[in-house]
Structures are given as C-alpha cells and as structure tokens.
C-alpha cells in the first residue's frame, strides 16, 4: 500500500442489505444465485421485505421512524458490524470523521398517507407531530447519525431510482475531499402502497401482469420492491492503518443527466453511455476487463432497450455480446432509491463469491435487444484483467433523467 494512488483508493469495509429476499447481504446473494423470486405482497405488483422492525430495533425508535428508515438502520447495523463498529465497543473512527449519505427516492410516503387519513377522519388536531420527521427523505441518514453518534456530514441524495448509486458516489467524493475518514452510504425505500402503485401503473411503468421479466420479449414493466442497501467506505490507506480488511473496492463512479424528459430515457442512450464511460475511466478499467454487469434492468420495454443501447455504445458491441449481464429486479422488484445501493451490494457479493446471479423471471430473451450474454442460471465469474482483479459494473437510472454508474472490484482469489 506504499503506492499513494492505491492508498487513495476507496475500499469497502462493510456492507449490509435488507431486501424482499430477506434480512442480510448473505441471503440476498444465496437466494439470488438460486434463482429465487420474492412473492407478491399487498398488491400483485409489490414485493415486500419479510421484516418486522420491532425484531431489530427498540420500540421508541420504531414508532418514531418510517419503514424506509428502519430498513436502513438494520442494513447499516450489518454493514457497520462487518466493518468493526459494534455497539458498546470503542468505535474504530472519530465520530466527527464519519459521514452518512443515504439515498431515498420518495421518502416516508406510508407515514404521510396514514396521517392524511387521520387528518380527514379525525381532524387536524389529531395529526401526529411525528409525521414530518418520519416522512422527510433525510430521516434515514439522520437516524443513522443519531443511533451511532456519527457527527460528520449527513444527508439524503434524492435522484429517484439512481439515488442509491449517487449516494455511494457522493460518499466517495466526501472521502476523496478529505472531509471524512469513513462514509456510511447507501439507499432505502419503502413506498409500496396502492396509491404509489396506481401512479406508476398509470405512467405505464408498472407490470400489469404483476411479474418482473427484465430483458424478456414479454416484459411489461417493473414490480415494486422495498429495502435498503448500505456500504461502509474508507480509503485503502485508512482501512490499512486500522487493520480493517478491504472486502472490495469502488474504483469508479460517474453520473450524468439526460436533459430530456421527466420519465422517458433519452432516445439515443447517449448520456447513460457517457456515465458508464466516465466511471470506467475513473476506475482505469477497459470495457474488456469487466467480468460482470449488474444492469439497472427494470423490465420496462423502454428501459431495457435503451440500457442495452447505452451499454453497447459505452462498452462496444463485441465486448457486450460476451459480458455476463443480469438484473436483480426480477427477483427483488424495483427498490427505487434503494436499488442502486442494493445492487452495488449484490455486485460486490457476485464478485466476492465469483458467481453472478441470474435474472429471475427471464424466459424468452428479447432478440430485439441485440447480442447479449444474459445470465439465466448462476454463472461462475472469471477475471478478464491481467491483474487478476474481478471488475463489475452496476448501472442505475432514475426518473428525471439521472444516470449513474459504479465500477466495483474484488481482488482475484487464487
């Protein structure tokens, strides 16, 4: 680690997740690799996390928080424990030097909806004073800071379905600027009410069949998921100084904007492609060195077509045709503001285990998407870099025209 460039590298020292496949980043990988799919919940196009907040958090915290914050706190507990930060033990970092950046697309909509009903049925005098602090999109970052005493900057990144990925990127930049020694980053979302589903359905994005089939010729939209993904990031030098194991690295990040339309992606995929190109450039990774792509892959007709087009532009048609690619949204649903972070964790897990999960729900690959190497059963991953490092790309796109790309890396296992 004497190379100063390597010392500034951003390493992952902890990660955690709560998803519709279960509580934990381990079960996320195991079940995704097994091809499991979360069952339909309160609505045919909704996938809930099998998660009871009271099993994990004290009662007074549960009643003061929306579900998205609860999911974030539990995923963070897993990530922080992995990083060596345990309740009751001395923290590995100075509290002032730990920042929290948690993305959220919609905020605590369930808390808002519940109090809207109280307002209408019982009157203004009975509306909970806790509604605002529950629903505010920064609540997850704020409670994370309060629960663990982290006193560096904390904030929410809100860029719809790329919030989670952009929160990771924002955290990387906080580290690079020297503003923090450790950043707890990720995303959380729990907006799966009939009201939310109705709006997505009327926008033409929600699957009327209640099934998510990314890259399938019969795909008809996404299904709604909920959950949180959290990573603890430090510089390689900082992690080495305290003797923490680097569980992987985030080598590159970039984000761009379509400047086109509030819901439709740019028709040529150009800005999305540019995000991928810039992230690879920051990582000093050539397209041909990538071992795996964890695609945004929502399963809408438009997203999958334009994402494949963007990847083809950025990576080259020949590289893309032979690059294992899958989407987690068939198994998990679309976790909106949590998606990019959960998928960063899923990508990291795929690289760490050397196994890519398949795209659940994919039965008939859409030939109109062009030549692709779609992962349809768990696939062993092999390095394509001379250094032996396994590189993975994770893409995220959000309503508003937000495009983000992360390049993750895990040292090859010999």
């Amino acid at each position: 680690m004497s190379d100063p460039q390597r010392g500034r590298e951003v390493v992952v020292t902890g990660f955690g997740a709560v998803t519709p496949l279960g509580v934990g980043a381990g079960v996320l990988h195991e079940r995704a690799v097994a091809g499991d799919t979360a069952p339909a919940g309160s609505h045919p196009a909704v996938r809930h996390a099998d998660f009871t907040a009271g099993d994990h958090l004290p009662r007074n915290l549960v009643r003061r928080t929306d579900r998205f914050t609860q999911l974030a706190l539990v995923a963070a507990e897993e990530a922080l424990t992995r990083a060596g930060h345990r309740a009751g033990a001395p923290s590995p970092w100075l509290p002032e030097r730990v920042a929290c950046v948690i993305g959220c697309g919609l905020g605590g909509t369930a808390s808002f909806e519940a109090q809207r009903e109280v307002y209408e049925k019982e009157g203004a005098g009975f509306v909970s004073p806790l509604m605002i602090p529950q629903m505010m999109a920064n609540a997850a970052a704020a409670h994370l800071s309060m629960r663990h005493g982290f006193r560096g900057e904390s904030l929410c990144v809100a860029s719809a379905c790329s919030s989670g990925a952009q929160a990771v990127g924002t955290g990387m930049r906080l580290l690079a600027s020297g503003a923090a020694d450790a950043v707890v980053v990720g995303g959380a979302e729990a907006s799966s009410s009939d009201l939310v589903a109705a709006s997505f359905a009327n926008a033409g994005a929600l699957s009327p069949s209640g099934s998510s089939r990314p890259f399938d010729r019969d795909r008809d939209g996404f299904v709604i998921g909920e959950g949180a993904g959290i990573l603890v990031l430090e510089t390689a030098a900082g992690a080495a100084r305290r003797g923490a194991e680097a569980l992987g690295a985030v080598r590159g990040y970039a984000a761009t904007s379509d400047a086109h339309h509030v819901t439709a992606p740019a028709p040529d995929g150009g800005p999305a492609a540019r995000a991928v190109t810039l992230a690879l450039r920051e990582a000093s990774v050539a397209p041909g060195e990538l071992a795996y792509v964890n695609a945004h892959g929502t399963g809408t007709a438009l997203n999958d077509r334009l994402e494949c087009e963007a990847l083809r532009q950025a990576l080259g048609a020949d590289v893309l045709a032979e690059l294992p690619l899958s989407s987690g949204k068939g198994a998990l649903g679309h976790l909106f503001g949590a998606a990019g972070a959960v998928e960063a964790v899923a990508t990291l897990q795929a690289l760490r285990h050397g196994v890519a999960p398949p795209t659940a729900g994919l039965r008939h690959p859409d030939p109109a998407l062009g030549p692709l190497d779609l992962v349809r059963a768990a696939r062993k991953l092999t390095t394509r870099a001379r250094t032996g490092v396994l590189y993975g790309l994770s893409t995220s796109f959000g309503f508003g025209g937000h495009n983000a790309a992360l390049v993750l890396a895990v040292e090859g296992r010999s």
Binding site: N60, R63, F126, P129, L130, P133
Partner: protein, 90 residues
Amino acid sequence: MSETSATSTTPDRAAIEQFITDALVELGVDEGDVLPGAALDDLEIDSLDMVELAQSVKRDLGVPVRTKDFDGIETVGQILELCYRKAGVE
C-alpha cells in the same frame, strides 16, 4: 397508540392510570419504570411524545385535554393529576 379504555363515559382513576401506563409503554417506556415520581426526561419522553399522548388521551380516553395543558409537566404523577382533574375525578 393504545385504544384500550375507549369509552363515552367518564373514566375513573384506575382506568386513567391504566390508560396512561399503557400509553407510556406504547411510547417505549418499560412498564416497571412508570411510577408517579418518574421524570419524563429520564423516561426519554420528549415534547413530540407528549403531543401524541395528549391526542390519545382526548381521542381514546375521552378526557377533554388540550395539547397545551401538558406544557410544564415533568413527571408521570403530574400527567395523572392533570387527567384526573380534566375528567373530574380528583
């Protein structure tokens, strides 16, 4: 918030005490810590909790309290005294 003791008739002191105990437990306090002399600060009950408690006393217990009646209240015993007074069972 607890919906026990919801009634259209005036609750007696025992019903009020049970309701407040249940409500404080619902707010995250251990039942064993709900003692008349206990300070709300020590129980980690803050002003937001007190507003919710006042709303619940009015809605579910049927005792006509206002949120601002709870201003300056510092102990569990003072909550009970306020509710007894407002319910006319001093």
